[in-house]
């Protein structure tokens, strides 16, 4: 992918070395980003996984990875979110890739209630962070295969939802660099359209199809 900006690329820390985290790490390394990955404990425990599945990443303690990153990606199962050290994310731009699935996560009181979207709940918990919703609506098993170069015919599109335009833009450059067209929505709350059961969840859509799908949902 060609770099279109002379600004230094954001350093990325991925919390979670599971299905989603390992795929995201691989794709971001391939897109030229400096990526560190942390699980819940000693980085030595994910050394083998990292070396085989995500060559080129740095493994680190979560606190260290977060401290030296410009963007932190939450790629942990949602039921682990409550136990995460929220304080360490203060001042950081946080990409929320999580989905709330009660059948898999068990009922999570923090995310119940139906008033807030899952990412708004995350934002509320991370009051000193800037939360952006992205990558939650594409299956980890499709993420690598569905990438394509900017300008490709029929390029798949993904959404980015954030309250802050600057944060949305920065995340959009990452999503695009990884291999997807980006359709931003104006508020974090609009990320409801990306949630399970919504019009774009798991759907292979081009930019215009994606735009239409979220517009229809907003109008409904």
């Amino acid at each position: 992918m060609m770099r279109t900006s002379l600004a230094p690329r954001p350093r990325i820390a991925i919390l979670g070395a599971g299905h989603v985290g390992s795929v995201l790490a691989r794709m971001m390394v391939a897109a030229g980003y400096e990526v560190s990955v942390a699980a819940s404990g000693d980085p030595a425990r994910i050394e083998l996984i990292a070396s085989v599945l995500m060559p080129g990443v740095k493994t680190a303690w979560a606190k260290d990875a977060v401290a030296s990153a410009d963007i932190v990606v939450l790629a942990i199962p949602l039921h682990r979110f409550a136990a995460l050290d929220h304080g360490m994310l203060a001042g950081k731009l946080v990409i929320d890739t999580m989905n709330y699935w009660a059948p898999t996560d068990g009922v999570q009181p923090m995310f119940e209630g139906g008033e807030l979207t899952s990412s708004e709940t995350v934002q509320r918990q991370l009051a000193d962070s800037t939360v952006v919703k992205a990558f939650n609506h594409i299956g980890y098993h499709e993420m690598e295969a569905d990438r394509s170069a900017r300008g490709s015919a029929g390029r798949r599109a993904l959404g980015v939802a954030a309250d802050q335009a600057e944060a949305a833009e920065l995340v959009a450059t990452v999503v695009d660099a990884v291999g997807y067209d980006v359709i931003p929505v104006p508020r974090l709350r609009d990320g409801a359209a990306f949630e399970p059961g919504g019009p774009v969840f798991g759907a292979r859509l081009t930019a215009s199809q994606f735009r239409a799908a979220v517009a229809t949902r907003a109008a409904a």
């Binding site: 599971g18 299905h19 980085p43 996984i49 599945l53 060559p55």
Partner: protein, 264 residues
Amino acid sequence: MTTTTMPATPEPSASSFPLEFGLNTFGDVTADAHGTPLSHAQTIRNLVEHGVAAERVGIDFFGIGEHHTDDMPLSAADTVLAAIAARTENIRLGSAVTVLSSDDPVRVFQRYSTLNAISNGRAEVILGRGSSIDSFPLFGFDLADYQDLFEEKTNLFSQLVDGGAVTWSGRTRSALVDQDVVPHLESPLPTWIGVGGSPESVVRAARYGFSLMLAVIGGPAERFAPYSRLFAQALAQFGHAPKPIGLHSPGHVAATDQRARDEF
């Protein structure tokens, strides 16, 4: 921080294990010729015939996945497998998967050791999460404990499969002290871990020296190549001999490749 690099590693040998072809089923309730759903009992009887027919056409393995729902009533796979075992000679028979987290590893071992005896050494066990979580509330387990339950029970199961008296303690089950668990295995009970996409599960399978069954839910099969490299390296790191890797995938068989694609 440490930067990781790709260490030199011996390529897993493609010829280490013979290629085998198996059929897995969740024992879905099917319909009769008029479209009326069959009863649970008829579904189960049909499944026994299915397994017997599989041997007749030369299938190597027949697996049944544990479920607890009205449309998938196969909650006692080992019983059905025993019925198939009594009417077959060669086909290997196993769970695909046993939802170990909500079961008792001692009971799982006992049932499959019994199946192994009935079948003259043709039993296998694939341990996994399963594709639904109905067993958790049914047996009084909390989904939040999923990780601990699976880790501890896999740990106990690995000791049981090794044979001999077992001493074990944990928080998910009562302790065993120098316990002899029966029936004793007459021949080894191949044990696999079913893995969806979790690298940690691949490493867990390797840690115990179990075989790896990769569950392909979608996407190209090639994306699992790094997982088989991870498995091979982890096995070596844990000091185990190479173990087979299997691929569990939806598919369709027809007279030609083109027909299979069109029909699927």
